[in-house]
Protein backbone atom coordinates (compact mmCIF):
# COMPACT_ATOMS: atom_id res chain seq x y z
CA UNK A 1 0.00 0.00 0.00
CA UNK A 2 1.43 3.35 -0.98
CA UNK A 3 1.18 6.19 1.51
CA UNK A 4 0.50 9.18 -0.69
CA UNK A 5 0.90 12.75 0.46
CA UNK A 6 -1.99 14.64 -1.10
CA UNK A 7 -1.04 18.30 -1.51
CA UNK A 8 -4.37 19.32 0.03
CA UNK A 9 -5.21 16.61 2.52
CA UNK A 10 -1.87 15.23 3.68
CA UNK A 11 -0.82 11.60 3.90
CA UNK A 12 -3.54 9.12 3.00
CA UNK A 13 -3.73 5.46 2.00
CA UNK A 14 -3.43 4.59 -1.66
CA UNK A 15 -6.99 3.23 -1.61
CA UNK A 16 -8.29 6.83 -1.48
CA UNK A 17 -6.67 7.64 -4.81
CA UNK A 18 -7.09 6.85 -8.46
CA UNK A 19 -4.20 6.46 -10.83
CA UNK A 20 -4.06 8.66 -13.90
CA UNK A 21 -1.03 7.35 -15.74
CA UNK A 22 1.76 9.38 -17.27
CA UNK A 23 1.75 13.11 -16.53
CA UNK A 24 2.70 15.88 -18.93
CA UNK A 25 0.97 14.49 -22.03
CA UNK A 26 -0.42 17.55 -23.79
CA UNK A 27 -3.51 17.41 -25.94
CA UNK A 28 -2.39 17.99 -29.53
CA UNK A 29 -2.22 21.68 -30.34
CA UNK A 30 -3.57 21.19 -33.85
CA UNK A 31 -5.67 18.03 -33.81
CA UNK A 32 -6.80 18.48 -37.40
CA UNK A 33 -3.24 18.28 -38.65
CA UNK A 34 -2.36 15.00 -36.97
CA UNK A 35 -1.80 11.92 -39.09
CA UNK A 36 -2.75 8.42 -37.98
CA UNK A 37 0.69 7.76 -36.54
CA UNK A 38 0.54 10.90 -34.42
CA UNK A 39 -2.97 10.09 -33.21
CA UNK A 40 -1.82 6.61 -32.27
CA UNK A 41 1.00 8.15 -30.27
CA UNK A 42 -1.37 10.45 -28.43
CA UNK A 43 -4.06 7.84 -27.78
CA UNK A 44 -2.16 4.65 -27.12
CA UNK A 45 1.51 5.34 -26.50
CA UNK A 46 2.70 6.36 -23.07
CA UNK A 47 6.12 6.23 -21.51
CA UNK A 48 6.62 3.03 -19.57
CA UNK A 49 9.63 4.18 -17.64
CA UNK A 50 11.60 1.87 -15.40
CA UNK A 51 12.76 4.30 -12.72
CA UNK A 52 11.61 7.84 -11.88
CA UNK A 53 8.22 8.33 -13.53
CA UNK A 54 6.02 11.45 -13.50
CA UNK A 55 2.41 10.40 -13.15
CA UNK A 56 -1.02 11.79 -12.32
CA UNK A 57 -3.06 10.85 -9.28
CA UNK A 58 -6.58 11.84 -8.25
CA UNK A 59 -7.52 12.04 -4.59
CA UNK A 60 -10.93 10.63 -5.43
CA UNK A 61 -12.28 10.08 -1.92
CA UNK A 62 -10.68 13.19 -0.49
CA UNK A 63 -10.38 16.63 -2.05
CA UNK A 64 -11.08 15.17 -5.52
CA UNK A 65 -8.20 17.15 -6.97
CA UNK A 66 -5.64 15.93 -9.45
CA UNK A 67 -1.94 16.33 -8.77
CA UNK A 68 1.34 15.03 -10.13
CA UNK A 69 3.74 12.70 -8.48
CA UNK A 70 7.25 11.56 -9.20
CA UNK A 71 7.59 7.93 -8.23
CA UNK A 72 10.20 5.27 -8.81
CA UNK A 73 8.51 2.41 -10.67
CA UNK A 74 11.00 -0.15 -9.32
CA UNK A 75 11.22 0.75 -5.63
CA UNK A 76 7.82 2.53 -5.62
CA UNK A 77 9.44 5.30 -3.57
CA UNK A 78 7.55 8.57 -3.93
CA UNK A 79 10.13 11.21 -4.75
CA UNK A 80 8.00 14.31 -5.13
CA UNK A 81 4.41 15.53 -5.20
CA UNK A 82 3.77 18.67 -7.22
CA UNK A 83 0.82 20.59 -8.66
CA UNK A 84 -0.65 20.06 -12.09
CA UNK A 85 0.65 22.59 -14.57
CA UNK A 86 4.14 22.80 -13.14
CA UNK A 87 7.23 21.18 -14.58
CA UNK A 88 8.48 17.96 -13.13
CA UNK A 89 10.87 18.76 -10.29
CA UNK A 90 13.81 16.79 -11.62
CA UNK A 91 13.33 17.94 -15.22
CA UNK A 92 16.54 19.95 -15.35
CA UNK A 93 18.69 17.33 -13.72
CA UNK A 94 17.37 14.44 -15.76
CA UNK A 95 16.84 16.15 -19.09
CA UNK A 96 18.94 14.04 -21.49
CA UNK A 97 17.49 10.57 -21.05
CA UNK A 98 14.65 10.50 -18.58
CA UNK A 99 11.62 10.40 -20.80
CA UNK A 100 10.65 12.53 -23.68
CA UNK A 101 7.78 14.42 -22.15
CA UNK A 102 9.42 15.77 -19.06
CA UNK A 103 9.35 19.38 -20.13
CA UNK A 104 6.16 19.27 -22.13
CA UNK A 105 3.18 21.40 -21.12
CA UNK A 106 0.77 19.89 -18.71
CA UNK A 107 -1.70 17.30 -19.82
CA UNK A 108 -4.96 18.47 -18.37
CA UNK A 109 -5.27 21.56 -20.46
CA UNK A 110 -7.24 20.87 -23.60
CA UNK A 111 -5.77 23.45 -25.86
CA UNK A 112 -5.17 27.12 -25.33
CA UNK A 113 -8.82 28.11 -25.14
CA UNK A 114 -9.80 25.52 -22.57
CA UNK A 115 -10.53 26.66 -19.05
CA UNK A 116 -7.59 26.32 -16.77
CA UNK A 117 -8.40 23.38 -14.58
CA UNK A 118 -4.85 22.48 -13.82
CA UNK A 119 -3.95 25.01 -11.20
CA UNK A 120 -6.26 24.60 -8.26
CA UNK A 121 -6.85 27.40 -5.84
CA UNK A 122 -6.59 25.00 -2.96
CA UNK A 123 -3.07 24.00 -3.87
CA UNK A 124 -0.50 25.72 -1.70
CA UNK A 125 1.90 27.95 -3.60
CA UNK A 126 4.81 25.79 -2.67
CA UNK A 127 3.91 22.17 -2.17
CA UNK A 128 6.12 20.57 0.41
CA UNK A 129 7.65 17.35 -0.81
CA UNK A 130 6.69 14.29 1.16
CA UNK A 131 9.05 12.67 3.56
CA UNK A 132 11.72 10.73 1.81
CA UNK A 133 11.70 12.96 -1.22
CA UNK A 134 15.01 13.12 -2.95
CA UNK A 135 14.47 16.19 -5.03
Amino acid sequence: MLLISCPNCGSRDETEFHYGGQAHVPYPENPNELNDREWAEFLFYRDNTKGAFAERWLHSTGCRQWFNMLRDTVTYEIQAVYPMGTARPDAAAAAPDSGTASTAPDSTTTGTTAPDISGTSTTPASTPAPEGATT
Binding site: E14, G21, E41, R46, N48, T49, K50, V74
Partner: protein, 405 residues
Protein backbone atom coordinates in the same frame (compact mmCIF):
# COMPACT_ATOMS: atom_id res chain seq x y z
CA UNK B 1 -4.81 -37.57 -1.61
CA UNK B 2 -3.49 -34.87 -3.81
CA UNK B 3 -1.64 -35.95 -6.94
CA UNK B 4 2.03 -36.81 -6.72
CA UNK B 5 4.22 -34.89 -9.10
CA UNK B 6 6.32 -36.82 -11.62
CA UNK B 7 10.06 -37.19 -11.12
CA UNK B 8 12.34 -35.09 -13.32
CA UNK B 9 15.36 -36.22 -15.30
CA UNK B 10 18.75 -35.41 -13.83
CA UNK B 11 19.26 -32.46 -16.12
CA UNK B 12 17.16 -30.88 -18.81
CA UNK B 13 19.42 -28.48 -20.66
CA UNK B 14 23.06 -27.45 -20.93
CA UNK B 15 24.44 -24.09 -19.94
CA UNK B 16 26.57 -23.11 -22.94
CA UNK B 17 28.65 -19.96 -23.23
CA UNK B 18 27.31 -17.74 -25.98
CA UNK B 19 28.73 -18.11 -29.47
CA UNK B 20 29.97 -15.09 -31.43
CA UNK B 21 26.94 -15.16 -33.68
CA UNK B 22 23.59 -16.80 -34.25
CA UNK B 23 20.98 -16.86 -36.99
CA UNK B 24 18.45 -15.57 -34.45
CA UNK B 25 18.47 -14.47 -30.85
CA UNK B 26 15.40 -14.61 -28.64
CA UNK B 27 15.48 -12.18 -25.73
CA UNK B 28 13.68 -13.64 -22.73
CA UNK B 29 13.88 -17.21 -21.47
CA UNK B 30 10.36 -17.55 -20.19
CA UNK B 31 7.60 -19.69 -21.62
CA UNK B 32 7.10 -17.55 -24.71
CA UNK B 33 10.81 -17.28 -25.51
CA UNK B 34 11.35 -21.00 -25.10
CA UNK B 35 8.25 -21.88 -27.10
CA UNK B 36 9.39 -19.53 -29.85
CA UNK B 37 12.83 -21.14 -29.94
CA UNK B 38 11.26 -24.59 -29.99
CA UNK B 39 9.04 -23.81 -32.97
CA UNK B 40 11.87 -22.00 -34.77
CA UNK B 41 13.93 -25.19 -34.50
CA UNK B 42 11.15 -27.67 -35.12
CA UNK B 43 9.03 -25.96 -37.78
CA UNK B 44 11.60 -23.79 -39.52
CA UNK B 45 14.86 -25.72 -39.12
CA UNK B 46 16.53 -22.77 -37.38
CA UNK B 47 18.74 -24.46 -34.80
CA UNK B 48 21.66 -22.01 -34.72
CA UNK B 49 19.74 -19.79 -32.34
CA UNK B 50 20.02 -18.67 -28.73
CA UNK B 51 17.59 -17.77 -25.98
CA UNK B 52 19.02 -15.08 -23.68
CA UNK B 53 17.66 -14.86 -20.17
CA UNK B 54 18.79 -12.14 -17.78
CA UNK B 55 17.94 -14.17 -14.68
CA UNK B 56 17.20 -17.84 -14.44
CA UNK B 57 15.13 -19.81 -16.89
CA UNK B 58 11.39 -19.21 -16.55
CA UNK B 59 11.85 -17.15 -13.40
CA UNK B 60 9.71 -14.19 -14.44
CA UNK B 61 6.00 -14.31 -15.15
CA UNK B 62 6.33 -17.97 -16.09
CA UNK B 63 7.04 -18.66 -12.42
CA UNK B 64 4.38 -16.27 -11.18
CA UNK B 65 1.17 -16.94 -13.06
CA UNK B 66 -1.89 -18.88 -11.96
CA UNK B 67 -1.58 -21.37 -14.84
CA UNK B 68 -5.11 -21.01 -16.18
CA UNK B 69 -5.58 -22.15 -19.76
CA UNK B 70 -8.76 -21.32 -21.67
CA UNK B 71 -9.82 -19.99 -25.06
CA UNK B 72 -13.27 -18.51 -24.43
CA UNK B 73 -12.49 -15.08 -25.84
CA UNK B 74 -15.16 -12.96 -27.48
CA UNK B 75 -13.65 -11.72 -30.70
CA UNK B 76 -12.84 -13.91 -33.71
CA UNK B 77 -9.16 -12.98 -33.78
CA UNK B 78 -8.68 -13.83 -30.12
CA UNK B 79 -10.75 -16.99 -30.24
CA UNK B 80 -8.65 -18.17 -33.19
CA UNK B 81 -5.26 -17.69 -31.56
CA UNK B 82 -6.23 -18.83 -28.06
CA UNK B 83 -8.16 -21.85 -29.37
CA UNK B 84 -5.13 -22.78 -31.45
CA UNK B 85 -3.08 -22.50 -28.27
CA UNK B 86 -5.52 -24.77 -26.45
CA UNK B 87 -5.30 -27.36 -29.24
CA UNK B 88 -1.51 -27.23 -28.94
CA UNK B 89 -1.73 -27.62 -25.17
CA UNK B 90 -3.70 -30.81 -25.84
CA UNK B 91 -0.94 -32.38 -27.94
CA UNK B 92 2.20 -30.85 -26.43
CA UNK B 93 2.73 -33.24 -23.51
CA UNK B 94 3.16 -36.05 -26.05
CA UNK B 95 5.10 -33.96 -28.54
CA UNK B 96 7.50 -32.65 -25.90
CA UNK B 97 7.60 -36.06 -24.21
CA UNK B 98 7.00 -34.43 -20.89
CA UNK B 99 3.94 -34.72 -18.70
CA UNK B 100 3.40 -31.19 -17.48
CA UNK B 101 0.08 -32.13 -15.88
CA UNK B 102 -2.25 -30.33 -18.25
CA UNK B 103 -5.52 -30.95 -16.49
CA UNK B 104 -8.67 -30.14 -18.47
CA UNK B 105 -10.84 -29.64 -15.44
CA UNK B 106 -12.83 -26.82 -17.01
CA UNK B 107 -13.01 -23.10 -16.33
CA UNK B 108 -16.06 -21.29 -15.04
CA UNK B 109 -16.50 -17.56 -15.46
CA UNK B 110 -19.09 -16.35 -13.00
CA UNK B 111 -21.76 -13.78 -13.72
CA UNK B 112 -22.85 -11.59 -10.81
CA UNK B 113 -24.97 -8.91 -12.45
CA UNK B 114 -27.51 -8.70 -15.23
CA UNK B 115 -24.78 -7.07 -17.32
CA UNK B 116 -22.49 -10.00 -16.61
CA UNK B 117 -25.24 -12.44 -17.60
CA UNK B 118 -25.84 -10.74 -20.91
CA UNK B 119 -22.15 -10.46 -21.69
CA UNK B 120 -21.61 -14.09 -20.74
CA UNK B 121 -24.45 -15.41 -22.90
CA UNK B 122 -23.25 -13.34 -25.80
CA UNK B 123 -19.74 -14.73 -25.34
CA UNK B 124 -21.03 -18.31 -25.19
CA UNK B 125 -22.76 -17.71 -28.51
CA UNK B 126 -19.66 -16.16 -30.05
CA UNK B 127 -17.51 -19.01 -28.75
CA UNK B 128 -19.81 -21.63 -30.26
CA UNK B 129 -19.70 -19.90 -33.63
CA UNK B 130 -15.91 -20.06 -33.44
CA UNK B 131 -15.83 -23.74 -32.54
CA UNK B 132 -14.83 -23.07 -28.95
CA UNK B 133 -16.56 -25.31 -26.43
CA UNK B 134 -18.72 -23.14 -24.21
CA UNK B 135 -21.93 -23.41 -22.31
CA UNK B 136 -24.09 -21.32 -20.02
CA UNK B 137 -24.75 -22.70 -16.55
CA UNK B 138 -27.51 -21.61 -14.22
CA UNK B 139 -26.66 -21.28 -10.50
CA UNK B 140 -27.79 -24.83 -9.74
CA UNK B 141 -25.56 -26.25 -12.46
CA UNK B 142 -22.73 -24.11 -11.13
CA UNK B 143 -23.25 -25.68 -7.72
CA UNK B 144 -23.28 -29.18 -9.15
CA UNK B 145 -19.94 -28.63 -10.86
CA UNK B 146 -18.34 -26.83 -7.94
CA UNK B 147 -20.13 -27.74 -4.70
CA UNK B 148 -18.03 -25.45 -2.51
CA UNK B 149 -19.26 -22.31 -4.29
CA UNK B 150 -21.72 -20.19 -2.37
CA UNK B 151 -24.69 -19.62 -4.68
CA UNK B 152 -27.05 -18.13 -2.09
CA UNK B 153 -28.68 -14.89 -3.11
CA UNK B 154 -27.98 -12.95 0.09
CA UNK B 155 -24.36 -12.13 -0.65
CA UNK B 156 -22.94 -8.91 -2.04
CA UNK B 157 -22.41 -10.32 -5.52
CA UNK B 158 -24.64 -13.38 -5.91
CA UNK B 159 -23.81 -15.98 -8.53
CA UNK B 160 -26.36 -15.53 -11.31
CA UNK B 161 -24.82 -18.17 -13.51
CA UNK B 162 -21.56 -18.85 -15.28
CA UNK B 163 -20.01 -19.64 -18.59
CA UNK B 164 -18.18 -22.93 -18.66
CA UNK B 165 -15.46 -24.20 -20.95
CA UNK B 166 -14.94 -27.91 -20.24
CA UNK B 167 -11.69 -28.20 -22.24
CA UNK B 168 -10.04 -25.40 -20.30
CA UNK B 169 -7.91 -26.10 -17.26
CA UNK B 170 -4.52 -25.67 -15.66
CA UNK B 171 -1.00 -26.98 -16.18
CA UNK B 172 2.18 -27.08 -14.15
CA UNK B 173 3.89 -23.90 -15.27
CA UNK B 174 7.48 -24.78 -14.35
CA UNK B 175 7.17 -28.15 -16.02
CA UNK B 176 5.92 -26.48 -19.19
CA UNK B 177 9.03 -24.31 -19.30
CA UNK B 178 11.30 -27.23 -18.59
CA UNK B 179 9.57 -29.32 -21.25
CA UNK B 180 10.22 -26.66 -23.88
CA UNK B 181 13.74 -26.05 -22.61
CA UNK B 182 14.70 -29.70 -22.81
CA UNK B 183 13.41 -30.02 -26.37
CA UNK B 184 15.12 -26.78 -27.38
CA UNK B 185 18.37 -28.09 -25.96
CA UNK B 186 17.97 -31.40 -27.80
CA UNK B 187 17.37 -29.54 -31.05
CA UNK B 188 20.60 -27.55 -30.60
CA UNK B 189 19.26 -24.27 -29.26
CA UNK B 190 21.62 -22.47 -26.84
CA UNK B 191 19.81 -21.48 -23.65
CA UNK B 192 21.93 -18.84 -21.95
CA UNK B 193 20.96 -17.77 -18.47
CA UNK B 194 22.30 -14.81 -16.49
CA UNK B 195 22.73 -12.97 -19.77
CA UNK B 196 21.13 -9.55 -19.67
CA UNK B 197 20.66 -7.59 -22.87
CA UNK B 198 22.10 -4.09 -22.46
CA UNK B 199 21.76 -2.75 -25.99
CA UNK B 200 21.44 -3.54 -29.67
CA UNK B 201 23.83 -3.18 -32.58
CA UNK B 202 22.26 -1.67 -35.65
CA UNK B 203 23.40 -1.13 -39.21
CA UNK B 204 21.19 1.72 -40.34
CA UNK B 205 17.71 0.57 -39.38
CA UNK B 206 18.63 -3.12 -39.29
CA UNK B 207 19.50 -4.93 -36.09
CA UNK B 208 22.74 -6.91 -36.44
CA UNK B 209 23.64 -7.79 -32.89
CA UNK B 210 22.88 -7.77 -29.23
CA UNK B 211 25.03 -6.31 -26.46
CA UNK B 212 24.81 -8.42 -23.35
CA UNK B 213 26.35 -8.85 -19.92
CA UNK B 214 28.23 -11.79 -21.47
CA UNK B 215 29.58 -9.83 -24.43
CA UNK B 216 28.41 -8.89 -27.88
CA UNK B 217 26.51 -11.45 -29.92
CA UNK B 218 25.99 -10.95 -33.63
CA UNK B 219 22.73 -12.11 -35.08
CA UNK B 220 20.60 -11.93 -38.20
CA UNK B 221 17.35 -11.56 -36.33
CA UNK B 222 16.13 -10.64 -32.88
CA UNK B 223 12.86 -11.68 -31.26
CA UNK B 224 11.78 -9.90 -28.08
CA UNK B 225 9.85 -12.03 -25.58
CA UNK B 226 10.39 -9.97 -22.45
CA UNK B 227 6.82 -9.34 -21.24
CA UNK B 228 6.96 -6.59 -18.61
CA UNK B 229 10.36 -5.37 -19.78
CA UNK B 230 9.43 -5.12 -23.46
CA UNK B 231 9.29 -1.31 -23.34
CA UNK B 232 12.77 -1.16 -21.84
CA UNK B 233 14.18 -3.29 -24.67
CA UNK B 234 12.25 -1.38 -27.32
CA UNK B 235 13.67 1.88 -26.01
CA UNK B 236 17.19 0.43 -26.31
CA UNK B 237 16.38 -0.48 -29.90
CA UNK B 238 14.96 2.97 -30.63
CA UNK B 239 11.22 2.52 -30.84
CA UNK B 240 8.21 2.71 -28.53
CA UNK B 241 5.56 0.17 -27.63
CA UNK B 242 2.01 0.93 -26.47
CA UNK B 243 2.61 -1.07 -23.32
CA UNK B 244 2.17 -0.23 -19.66
CA UNK B 245 3.82 -2.53 -17.12
CA UNK B 246 1.79 -3.22 -13.99
CA UNK B 247 2.24 -5.42 -10.95
CA UNK B 248 -0.08 -8.44 -10.93
CA UNK B 249 -0.33 -10.37 -7.70
CA UNK B 250 -1.24 -13.91 -6.84
CA UNK B 251 -1.03 -16.14 -3.81
CA UNK B 252 -1.28 -19.71 -2.61
CA UNK B 253 -2.67 -21.26 0.54
CA UNK B 254 -1.22 -24.11 2.49
CA UNK B 255 -1.83 -27.57 1.06
CA UNK B 256 -5.33 -28.96 1.44
CA UNK B 257 -7.17 -32.11 0.49
CA UNK B 258 -8.77 -31.74 -2.97
CA UNK B 259 -11.90 -29.65 -2.51
CA UNK B 260 -12.02 -27.56 -5.67
CA UNK B 261 -12.67 -29.61 -8.80
CA UNK B 262 -12.51 -26.92 -11.47
CA UNK B 263 -11.27 -23.38 -12.05
CA UNK B 264 -13.51 -20.49 -11.04
CA UNK B 265 -12.96 -16.97 -12.29
CA UNK B 266 -14.93 -13.93 -11.38
CA UNK B 267 -14.37 -10.93 -13.53
CA UNK B 268 -16.68 -8.78 -11.48
CA UNK B 269 -15.20 -9.33 -8.03
CA UNK B 270 -11.63 -9.81 -9.30
CA UNK B 271 -10.59 -13.21 -8.15
CA UNK B 272 -9.78 -16.49 -9.85
CA UNK B 273 -9.21 -19.71 -7.98
CA UNK B 274 -8.03 -23.21 -8.71
CA UNK B 275 -6.48 -25.94 -6.63
CA UNK B 276 -3.05 -27.06 -7.76
CA UNK B 277 -2.10 -30.71 -8.05
CA UNK B 278 -0.23 -30.68 -4.77
CA UNK B 279 -3.26 -29.22 -3.00
CA UNK B 280 -2.61 -25.52 -2.57
CA UNK B 281 -5.36 -23.10 -3.49
CA UNK B 282 -4.02 -20.77 -6.15
CA UNK B 283 -5.65 -17.36 -6.42
CA UNK B 284 -5.01 -14.40 -8.62
CA UNK B 285 -6.11 -10.79 -8.41
CA UNK B 286 -6.59 -7.90 -10.76
CA UNK B 287 -3.61 -5.71 -11.64
CA UNK B 288 -2.40 -2.97 -9.34
CA UNK B 289 -3.45 0.34 -10.82
CA UNK B 290 -0.04 1.96 -11.02
CA UNK B 291 2.87 1.25 -13.32
CA UNK B 292 5.45 -0.90 -11.64
CA UNK B 293 8.51 -3.01 -12.34
CA UNK B 294 8.92 -4.08 -8.71
CA UNK B 295 7.43 -7.61 -8.92
CA UNK B 296 5.30 -6.69 -5.95
CA UNK B 297 2.07 -4.81 -5.47
CA UNK B 298 -0.04 -3.24 -2.77
CA UNK B 299 -1.59 -5.34 -0.05
CA UNK B 300 -5.07 -3.91 -0.36
CA UNK B 301 -5.37 -5.64 -3.72
CA UNK B 302 -4.83 -8.98 -2.02
CA UNK B 303 -7.23 -8.02 0.74
CA UNK B 304 -9.91 -7.22 -1.84
CA UNK B 305 -9.25 -10.49 -3.63
CA UNK B 306 -9.45 -12.49 -0.39
CA UNK B 307 -12.71 -10.82 0.56
CA UNK B 308 -14.19 -11.91 -2.75
CA UNK B 309 -12.77 -15.41 -2.46
CA UNK B 310 -14.10 -15.98 1.04
CA UNK B 311 -17.55 -14.77 0.09
CA UNK B 312 -17.66 -17.08 -2.90
CA UNK B 313 -16.00 -19.99 -1.09
CA UNK B 314 -16.94 -19.81 2.61
CA UNK B 315 -14.82 -22.87 3.42
CA UNK B 316 -11.69 -20.90 2.50
CA UNK B 317 -12.21 -18.63 5.48
CA UNK B 318 -9.83 -20.59 7.66
CA UNK B 319 -7.25 -21.39 5.00
CA UNK B 320 -3.89 -19.78 5.63
CA UNK B 321 -2.04 -17.79 3.04
CA UNK B 322 1.31 -19.43 2.47
CA UNK B 323 2.90 -17.04 0.01
CA UNK B 324 2.03 -14.00 -2.06
CA UNK B 325 4.02 -12.61 -4.95
CA UNK B 326 3.82 -10.32 -7.94
CA UNK B 327 4.80 -10.38 -11.56
CA UNK B 328 5.18 -7.56 -14.08
CA UNK B 329 2.50 -7.74 -16.73
CA UNK B 330 2.69 -5.89 -20.02
CA UNK B 331 -0.76 -4.49 -20.67
CA UNK B 332 -2.09 -2.91 -23.84
CA UNK B 333 -5.08 -0.63 -24.06
CA UNK B 334 -7.14 -3.19 -25.98
CA UNK B 335 -6.07 -6.06 -23.69
CA UNK B 336 -4.74 -8.00 -26.67
CA UNK B 337 -1.17 -9.03 -27.39
CA UNK B 338 1.24 -7.60 -29.93
CA UNK B 339 2.98 -10.22 -32.05
CA UNK B 340 4.74 -9.10 -35.19
CA UNK B 341 7.27 -6.86 -36.84
CA UNK B 342 8.69 -3.65 -35.38
CA UNK B 343 9.93 -0.36 -36.86
CA UNK B 344 13.45 -1.86 -36.69
CA UNK B 345 14.30 -4.25 -39.55
CA UNK B 346 14.85 -7.88 -38.53
CA UNK B 347 13.61 -7.17 -35.03
CA UNK B 348 10.33 -8.74 -33.98
CA UNK B 349 8.24 -8.36 -30.86
CA UNK B 350 5.97 -10.63 -28.88
CA UNK B 351 4.49 -8.75 -25.95
CA UNK B 352 1.34 -7.25 -24.53
CA UNK B 353 -0.10 -10.54 -23.36
CA UNK B 354 -0.79 -8.77 -20.11
CA UNK B 355 -2.57 -10.84 -17.52
CA UNK B 356 -3.09 -13.85 -19.78
CA UNK B 357 0.22 -14.81 -21.30
CA UNK B 358 0.56 -18.31 -19.90
CA UNK B 359 -2.41 -19.75 -21.75
CA UNK B 360 -1.13 -18.26 -24.98
CA UNK B 361 2.36 -19.73 -24.68
CA UNK B 362 2.18 -22.37 -27.45
CA UNK B 363 0.41 -20.12 -29.94
CA UNK B 364 2.73 -17.22 -29.16
CA UNK B 365 5.68 -19.50 -29.81
CA UNK B 366 4.23 -20.96 -33.00
CA UNK B 367 3.18 -17.68 -34.58
CA UNK B 368 6.16 -15.68 -33.39
CA UNK B 369 8.56 -18.31 -34.73
CA UNK B 370 6.75 -18.14 -38.07
CA UNK B 371 7.02 -14.35 -38.04
CA UNK B 372 10.72 -14.39 -37.24
CA UNK B 373 11.59 -17.16 -39.70
CA UNK B 374 9.64 -15.82 -42.67
CA UNK B 375 9.60 -12.11 -41.88
CA UNK B 376 5.81 -12.07 -42.25
CA UNK B 377 3.13 -12.86 -39.72
CA UNK B 378 1.30 -16.17 -39.42
CA UNK B 379 -2.43 -15.95 -40.21
CA UNK B 380 -3.17 -16.21 -36.50
CA UNK B 381 -1.05 -13.29 -35.38
CA UNK B 382 -1.61 -11.00 -38.38
CA UNK B 383 -4.40 -9.11 -36.60
CA UNK B 384 -2.19 -8.64 -33.55
CA UNK B 385 0.30 -6.39 -35.34
CA UNK B 386 1.68 -3.24 -33.79
CA UNK B 387 0.10 -1.31 -36.67
CA UNK B 388 -3.41 -1.85 -35.31
CA UNK B 389 -2.94 1.09 -32.98
CA UNK B 390 -2.54 3.28 -36.06
CA UNK B 391 -5.21 1.72 -38.26
CA UNK B 392 -7.70 1.55 -35.41
CA UNK B 393 -8.35 -2.16 -35.98
CA UNK B 394 -8.16 -2.87 -32.26
CA UNK B 395 -9.14 -6.24 -30.79
CA UNK B 396 -10.89 -4.89 -27.78
CA UNK B 397 -11.04 -7.70 -25.27
CA UNK B 398 -11.34 -5.36 -22.30
CA UNK B 399 -14.40 -6.49 -20.45
CA UNK B 400 -15.23 -8.77 -23.33
CA UNK B 401 -13.01 -11.72 -22.73
CA UNK B 402 -13.92 -12.91 -19.26
CA UNK B 403 -10.67 -11.30 -18.25
CA UNK B 404 -10.35 -10.22 -14.67
CA UNK B 405 -8.90 -6.77 -15.15
Amino acid sequence: MADLLPEHPEFLWHNPTPKKSYDAVIVGGGGHGLATAYFLAKNHGMTNIAVLEKGWLAGGNMARNTTIIRSNYLWDESAAIYEHALKLWEILPEELEYDFLFSQRGVMNLAHTLGDVRESMRRVGANKLNGVDAEWLDPQQVKELCPILNISDNIRYPVMGATYQPRAGIAKHDHVAWAFARKCDELGVDIIQNCEVTGFLKDGNRVVGVKTSQGTIHTEKVGLCAAGHSSVLAEMAGFRLPIQSHPLQALVSELHEPVHPTVVMSNHVHVYVSQAHKGELVMGAGVDSYNGYGQRGSFHVIEHQMAAAVELFPIFARAHVLRTWGGIVDTTLDASPIVGTTPVDNMFVNCGWGTGGFKGTPAAGLTFAHTIATGTPHELNRPFALERFETGALIDEHGAAAVAH
